[in-house]
């Protein structure tokens, strides 16, 4: 399903990472330039990525960005089917996923407003509780004193 708001986000990136799965079972990724065909709701590859020539089927396309200090993170993943018709390679999008779970922005929650951060905290706490409940015992407390002292060691 074509998500116009997230496609608008995707257009702001200079390139993306296309990934397919090889016959060996290993994923194979390559960075490439993409174009968007809104009318046909397809993502096109103006320059064929050499690494995926001849491959069709399940694929994904990742757009991401961060600053040098890892602030300002944005990420968007488009799952879909890689196809080739008349010698042209394209991705037919299925699902659009973001790091925050939102369908209107690719901004990571901790790069957003205080409300975004609060929501992220509540979601993380709830999901961690579920993991621990399934695990059946609490997590070993982190040795924070030792960890913080280690930060100051040369």
């Amino acid at each position: 399903m074509w998500n116009k708001r997230l496609i608008a986000c995707a257009r702001t990136y200079p390139s993306a990472v296309l990934t397919v799965v090889e016959d060996s079972g290993y994923p194979r990724s390559v960075r490439c330039v993409v174009e968007f065909d809104d009318a046909r709701e397809l993502i096109l590859f103006p320059v064929r990525p050499l690494d995926v020539v001849g491959r069709q089927g399940s694929a994904c396309l990742l757009f991401h960005q961060h600053n040098a200090d890892l602030s300002g993170q944005r990420e968007l993943l488009i799952k879909g089917e890689l196809r080739e018709e008349a010698g042209k390679l394209f991705l037919r999008p299925g699902d659009f996923l973001t790091g925050s779970g939102r369908q209107d922005t690719d901004r990571m929650p901790y790069a957003g407003s205080p409300l975004d951060i609060f929501r992220y905290m509540m979601l993380g706490r709830r999901k961690a509780r579920a993991y621990l409940a399934k695990r059946g015992k609490p997590w070993t407390p982190r040795p924070w004193g030792k960890m913080l002292r280690y930060l100051d060691e040369p």
């Binding site: 994923p27 960075r31 050499l50 993991y131 930060l151």
Partner: protein, 168 residues
């Protein structure tokens, strides 16, 4: 296993890149790629990424389908000039990060030093308590099986394959 025998420019990529594009394969055979902070555990010749127990999907996928890939193609923040792009295909093992192995301290320090704002966050007991799940993590250790290199990140070229060789 021992240390990986690598050209210096590839080892520099493993040590200095702030993120890699890490791919796992889900139950339906669908690849899922997310940007992830990598850590190069040089003495063991492996790469490590982690996932919070609150968001463990990539760890679950790697446990079920251990063939994973890590592409190093975004040098933002890395103090390297014209680095190559590198693809690692490897076998993953997943463990809960509860025993405080020595490498986990180095990884923690590297991560905090690369994110200046993280220092005040991890030093604040209230923040640590509210975001405990950020520090309860699963380790995904990747033993490289195949390494492909695009010199200067030139993706128009056919990549060079490195022989994966360990030095005791």
């Amino acid at each position: 296993m021992g240390t990986l025998h690598l050209p210096p420019e590839v080892e520099a990529v493993f040590r200095e890149f702030r993120t890699c594009e890490f791919t796992t394969v889900n139950r339906q055979g669908q690849p899922l790629t997310w940007p992830t902070e990598p850590y190069y555990d040089a003495p063991e010749g492996r790469l490590i990424v982690t996932a919070s127990i609150a968001f463990p999907v990539k760890a679950y996928n790697a446990r079920r389908h251990p063939q994973v890939a890590m592409l190093f193609s975004d040098p933002t923040g890395a103090p390297l000039s014209d680095p190559p792009a590198v693809l690692v295909q490897g076998e993953a093992t997943v463990t809960e990060l509860v025993d405080d192995p020595a490498w986990s301290y180095t990884m923690f320090k590297e991560s905090v030093l690369r994110q200046p704002r993280a220092r005040s966050f991890v030093s604040n007991p209230l923040a640590r308590r509210l975001f405990t799940f950020q520090f309860q993590r699963l380790a995904i250790c990747v033993q490289p099986q195949r390494i492909l290199v695009w010199p200067r990140g030139d993706r128009g070229q056919t990549p060079t394959e490195l022989e994966v060789r360990y030095v005791e």
